[in-house]
Symmetry: C3
Subunit: 377 residues, 3 copies
């Protein structure tokens, strides 16, 4: 794969983000735990096993990645204790920890912190009346904030964000560029909303007016008077939409993680710590429990409940409530077009095929009876 100009430029300049400073392994161990084996040393960033430079920290999630160490140049590795001996090498330091992936996540959070808010409102932002925006919060140019909005400490409101009237946003939250938060929605603390997400648009609520009269034979819109509540520590993905409730609120629990391009319809309630992968749709008034994992492109119908701790596989249409936590996955199995065509043709005839099985069962039974010797002569 060559991407020409982009590659070229990428060669001349770093892409992505750089660690804000050098870290000493002993410092990480002091802050995050684990035990250091080998020489204490400085690391200037984190990288994958493949591609890591000597002075970058890398990590080994499990023994199955041990072969990749052969070509890994990193002089500092996060490894599980079981791999400590195999991972050891001259000049290499190890941090031993039972969960290297989590350790990596926590170390990366230290080494690549989000830029802190530079307090103040850019004069090119548009700010309504009667609100309270903490002095430590940063409102960037071309953000637009309505009336009676309260925003807590150390938030960052990026360019192009539009916030309606009567919105509340808790401390330390970040609204990335072009997020929209509609009137009356409430966002918790330490919430991150990624670019383009729309919080609190009117849901898909309407009643068919099929009756008599000049006003009949059309849809009648149902105004959505509820709001959206987003709990502390939640993250909402890019271009995701979360509709406001009809009469009560749509509620996103604490520490919920929602990926990009997800649709959360009106009146949905999502329990704490649940994670929902991209392209998923949750229809109206459904309740998702806490600590659920919902795979990408899942489709959850409206007015059902899903038990705490349920896992739903990607691409699965959830058509009824899930009372028992467990692993639910249903999609048409992947195959070549030719195999699919042949199997799909039979699937369309499954009712008739089952009928044939029944017929042949009956025929065999009849044969067996006629063949059996008379039981009594």
């Amino acid at each position: 794969m060559t991407i020409s100009d982009a590659d070229d430029r990428a060669g001349r300049r770093p892409t992505g983000r750089v660690a804000t400073r050098v870290w000493r392994l002993s410092e990480l161990v002091r802050l995050l735990g684990g035990s250091l084996r080998g020489k204490d040393r400085d690391v200037r960033g984190i990288a994958a096993l493949e591609g890591a430079a000597a002075e970058e920290l890398s990590f080994l999630v499990s023994p199955k990645h041990l072969p990749e160490l052969a070509t890994c140049r990193s002089a500092a590795l996060i490894v599980p204790p079981a791999c400590a001996d195999d991972a050891a090498a001259p000049g290499r330091s190890l941090i031993l920890t039972p969960d290297p992936y989590l350790y990596f996540a926590r170390a990366a959070s230290l080494m690549y912190p989000s830029a802190p808010a530079r307090g103040g409102v850019d004069p090119r932002a548009v700010i309504g009346i009667d609100g309270v925006i903490a002095a430590s919060t940063e409102v960037r140019a071309l953000a637009c904030i309505g009336d009676r909005v309260t925003i807590g400490e150390r938030c960052v409101i990026h360019a192009g964000v539009v916030i309606g009237d009567d919105v509340h946003i808790g401390d330390d939250s970040v609204l990335h560029p072009r997020v929209v938060v509609h009137d009356g929605c409430v966002i918790g603390r330490r919430v991150t909303i990624y670019s383009g997400a729309v919080i609190g648009a009117d849901g898909f609520g309407m009643a068919w007016n099929g009756g008599e009269g000049k006003d009949a034979g059309h849809w009648c819109r149902i105004p959505q008077r509820g709001g959206v509540l987003i709990g502390d520590d939640a993250e909402i993905g890019a271009n995701t939409a979360i509709d406001r409730g009809t009469l009560t609120d749509t509620v996103i629990g604490r520490d919920v993680r929602i990926d990009n391009l997800v649709q959360i319809a009106h009146n949905v309630r999502i329990g704490d710590h649940t994670a929902i992968a991209g392209c998923t749709g949750i229809a109206g008034s459904t309740r998702i429990g806490a600590r659920c994992l919902i795979g990408g492109a899942a489709m959850v119908v409206g007015h059902i409940s899903i038990a705490d701790g349920t896992t739903i596989g990607g691409g699965t249409r959830v058509s009824k409530s899930v009372r028992e936590p467990g692993h639910y996955t249903s999609y048409f199995p992947f195959s070549t077009f030719d195999d699919w065509r042949s199997n799909a043709a039979h699937l369309r005839q499954l009712d008739r095929i089952v009928g044939r099985v029944k017929d042949v069962e009956a025929a065999v039974k009849a044969l067996g009876e006629s063949q059996a010797p008379p039981s009594d002569v």
Copy 2:
């Protein structure tokens, strides 16, 4: 579910929207029909049965919700005539109407009207040349409108909206924050477009240039010279995309309702009053009839037609034209992962399983023939 700071704040302030004034039941009956049973009284809002305050109007859609009345505090209920006696209670007033859900929708539209346009163009909006924007229309700060744009009476163009050149928008339409309408598109009257929707981007049109020469072996873009026409009273959901046509227009009929995150490809035509739920994709040049209902996450292939009045279930891939209106639904039935795995494995082998049924049918037939006495000796 606790959402901490957000809950906390929600406790201290109302979320969502409040009715603009108090309404008298007799006033609703005069405007919307139905008959009042019991004392005339004031209501200050609408709420669900569960959670309604005494002075809020609520509604009972059908007899199956009668048990919920036991704990309902509302003193004013919209009910179907068949429930009038069971719903009656001391101090409770009823509005009797054959379709309480529709009545609720219409009452809510009266009690929670959209904020009317405050005529005038905010000086922080960017306005092109040679256009006509009615004086009664409101253009908010940071909206950006191109050249030769005409906008009718009483529209609201919210912050962050971008409108290209030569666009026409009819009376009483609302473009929510960050909507984009590209050059040359035409929007009807009383249309609502929710935040983040993109109307009239170039469709996914390209031809593969596989031929000889320096210009070969790549995609050649096809400029999309058509526009998008959106009929009166249509509603377009948040972050939905409707592409412009290639040579003619993409057309959204009157009173069409499109939910969030829906993709409408180039040259699609959607008939009047059709409703399309979230996450659905309609591929290029397909024609959807009038009064269709299309469930969430449906996938409709290109270049087909769907008859008026067709219902398509959620998650269904529509792979061919639908000539007969009816109810079409096809998705892999929901199950546990274990059941799915076992059934999916057989599904992959369905061709061989049917072969075995055939073989056993033949064997039974042979057995039957050999067992039968010779018909003629």
Copy 3:
């Protein structure tokens, strides 16, 4: 279908785009090849067979469209040589070319060119420090560009675009309204990004912190330190999201075509010339080969590879790597709800049905053996 006001206005004014000037057929042949049969003449635009005016160029892709010529008014047609005789008519000119669809695309590109950049930065745009924006590039009002951004020649940065810090954009690229490009991303030359697309948001990366202590029992975000590289000539659809990489870059190859509302997760790599239709999701770290065609609403799981030249049908969930190029399509076949219900019920019982087939096979075998004459007496 009537769309009232919109129709009405459309009747009074042209929708969509008009060709910038009149073209002579001989001029097209000189620039694009093909051979002219009949009189050289002027055309003022391109139209479909149905609806073309006499002075508009139209095109016939294959012989099966010949019947449509009966009512086609166009006096200039692009046709394959095999149709030349049948398409000929008095007063009609033909351009003969083996691939009329490609010829149409190329002719349309000449006749409906994108508006060229009007160099200069609108004073109502917001521009950061230490960047380099070529003088020939146009930055429109209300665009917002970060620090140290370099933008090549003849680009158009539309209204409402937000570009982070340290971004590079190559020559001749167009960012449509409200595109977001996050910090450190690199965009190639001649790239088009449609409205609302979000490039380089943080991916869905987190580790579960299930351990002990006050910090346990919640998700730990993984900062995404990679960027996004988009190759030359790529096109990215409206409201599509492409996440930045975790430790390395997410890479979109050259001439890749991505439709609307597509989700490309972190670390994905997409090979040159691959086309991905709308509503598709590609999960994290997956590698898609070059020259693949991926249908709409496909769902590709993470951490797999798809071979160069693979075709994936729409609505297909790709659950494992594809080593052999070919055509893969798997979705529940479309049917009426009643047929689906009956077939789906059997599908849920497929394991038991196969068990019954096995039983009847065994019974038949036993019958056959008991019926056979003793082989040796």
